[in-house]
Subunit: 377 residues, 2 copies
């Protein structure tokens, strides 16, 4: 291998693929990143045991000149730290003997011990294997939707399917769902596509969130390809591949209450700030909400620390007054992921979940939060 | 106590005094911050067992209105997190009953359990007790000087005096010295002052560095007052008090070599970047330096990881060529604290320390770094 690559291109590629690499992986090969020089492009890949991130620098884009093909895996952290400290515009990467990579920049010559590239897990998506389903949606919309449902993913390992986000093609488009049993978040990405009906996949929550972060700045469409045990997100030079979680996702549509007893609408920002103040003392503790006329009252009491009483105005309210207790941390997660200027609260009874929806996308996003049973409720 | 204070003033005060507070102090009272309302000012104080930081908000500056004097100690982290989340410009602080502070902002009412202010360690400097010595120097100069010598402070607890920075009035002004036995940093702040001759004090390194950080942005003179067991730094509304380390500081002037065998001058930035690249693989390991003509060669080898060879041009060189091995982390600390465009290296022999000095302040700053004995040296 002998390539010359523009430092800034390589630094950008490394920053992206490093997100998949764990410094303390039990598999030494996964603590490294793979550098693969093909005749027309340089491919940089980082992998964990359940996901891979790959970035391609094309010769046509003038980011790289490949003189001799080849491949090696080098320790991720050392390689990145050296590259970002190089001061020349171009960096030379060369394999002179065996498993050693020589990095040249100006008068600096760094020789880095590497590992055998053939031991690195291959990326299926890159090899163009047939997907069962494949479709494109705007990257930013996918990214935002994943980030909205992600907080509701279960962090417990007792039911592995709940640690994933459920991707399902329904009649309105792509449905994303996450629930941990206490809360549920569901978002529909309205999109028409032929031949996707009935497809579904459970994507590990953390991997989906990582993909959402990486796709956030891609101002193009993201292509999603799904095989029997893998999902692949790609946009521009970037490709993210994740394993799927096996199993059957619970049928959640039946949990969502069809009717409500009362409705209250308030400003998202003011409500968020009030919940944030309450959460300072309560942490993920109990927050009591109650309505009286056009006011929503918040109360949290924490023994030996103190209590917070707050009030936000309701812009609209119908039905009976209500009072219930919620986990303040869970409510915060929902409000923080909401971009809508107003939030709608729908009370469905003292033992059934509160429905929370953004006013501007009431058709496509819904959150459920189960109340906490307290002595006074 | 009943005071109204401008949120931004209080947030600023808390950010400063919180630097002294440790959330896991073994003394519960030190996990809190003291709020003291006097007729004309609000005094906010945070303390650890060896230092205190105090900030005053004056009624005259329109930052506070004191209606009723009083004092209380409240949990630092909770108080700060609530205050910064308040959305109104003014915040009310009131003690209504016993040890409870009521915080009011808009429609928010937060009641926070506090502690007895009489248990909080008093600040001596604030009470105007007589100092043995007191003098003023520009805050920025003091701050920069402390940060230059601080990296050489010993992190070992075997000789407590070496964990401090030695402040001493010499014939040229205020001398600051730090050494851990392997390296030494000395800086003279040239300043004339009557009646300070012969004074000296050992200030805990961490406390001095904290004071340096806090005084960094004060565009005024800093006043330093020293009593038998305390040092007090003050500037504008800020006061920092630290305990002193008891004991006799070693006489270091005799260690500094008076002659050198050769001298090399190079650009600080280029040298720093080369040492940074070498330190990626070597960490705080061995870096070999050698000169040949007008070039300075760097070499670091790390078994099973790789090696770095680098070269920087010398702008000037006199005397014999030299080669020696140094701790690369220690050399980095020195170069990073240097503002000078050029750095002077003075070789004094294979077993005696390398002298490193900034070219623009050769009179006032000196660093010594002992070589490491390796098989090849």
């Amino acid at each position: 291998m002998l390539v010359y690559v523009v430092k800034d291109c390589l630094v950008k590629a490394l920053q992206l693929v490093l997100r998949a690499v764990s410094a303390n992986s039990p598999y030494p090969i996964l603590t490294g990143i793979s550098i693969q020089a093909l005749p027309e492009e340089l491919i940089i890949t980082g992998s964990s045991s359940s996901m891979s991130i790959q970035y391609k620098i094309h010769q046509g884009d003038r980011g790289v000149t490949v003189r001799r093909s080849g491949a090696i895996v080098v320790p991720a952290r050392y390689f990145y730290d050296i590259i970002r400290r190089c001061t020349d515009e171009w960096i030379g990467l060369e394999i002179l003997e065996g498993l050693k990579l020589t990095i040249t920049s100006g008068k600096s010559h760094i020789s880095l011990c590497g590992m055998d590239a053939s031991e690195f897990p291959p990326i299926r998506g890159a090899k163009g294997s047939a997907f069962l389903t494949s479709f494109s949606i705007p990257a930013e919309l996918l990214s935002e939707s994943v980030r909205q449902v992600f907080p509701s993913v279960s962090t417990s390992e007792s039911r592995p399917v709940l640690s994933g986000i459920y991707f399902e093609w329904g009649d309105k488009g792509l449905h994303l769902t996450a629930t941990d049993g206490v809360r549920l978040a569901s978002r529909i990405i309205q999109h028409e596509h032929q031949g996707c009906e009935g497809f579904s996949a459970i994507v590990p929550g953390k991997n989906a969130a990582e993909a959402a972060k990486l796709l956030q700045d891609a101002d193009s469409a993201a292509t999603i390809g799904i095989s029997s045990n893998q999902i692949c997100f790609s946009a521009q030079n970037l490709l993210i591949q994740s394993a799927l979680i096996e199993g059957a996702y619970p049928v959640v549509q039946s949990i969502i209450p069809k009717r409500y007893l009362s409705e209250a609408i308030t400003e998202t920002a003011a409500f968020l700030h009030a919940v944030e103040r309450a959460a300072v003392l309560a942490g993920e503790g109990i927050l009591q909400l109650s309505t009286a006329g056009k006011a929503l009252f918040l109360l949290s009491k924490t023994a030996e620390i103190g209590d917070v009483r707050d009030e936000v105005s309701l812009t609209d309210r119908s039905g009976e007054n209500f009072a219930l207790a919620l986990n303040s941390g869970f409510l915060l997660d929902i409000l923080r992921s909401m971009k809508s200027m107003f939030v709608i609260l729908r009370y469905t009874g003292s033992w059934s979940p509160l429905i929370i929806q953004p006013s501007d996308a009431i058709e496509s996003a819904i959150y459920l939060l189960s109340p906490i049973r307290t002595a006074s409720h």
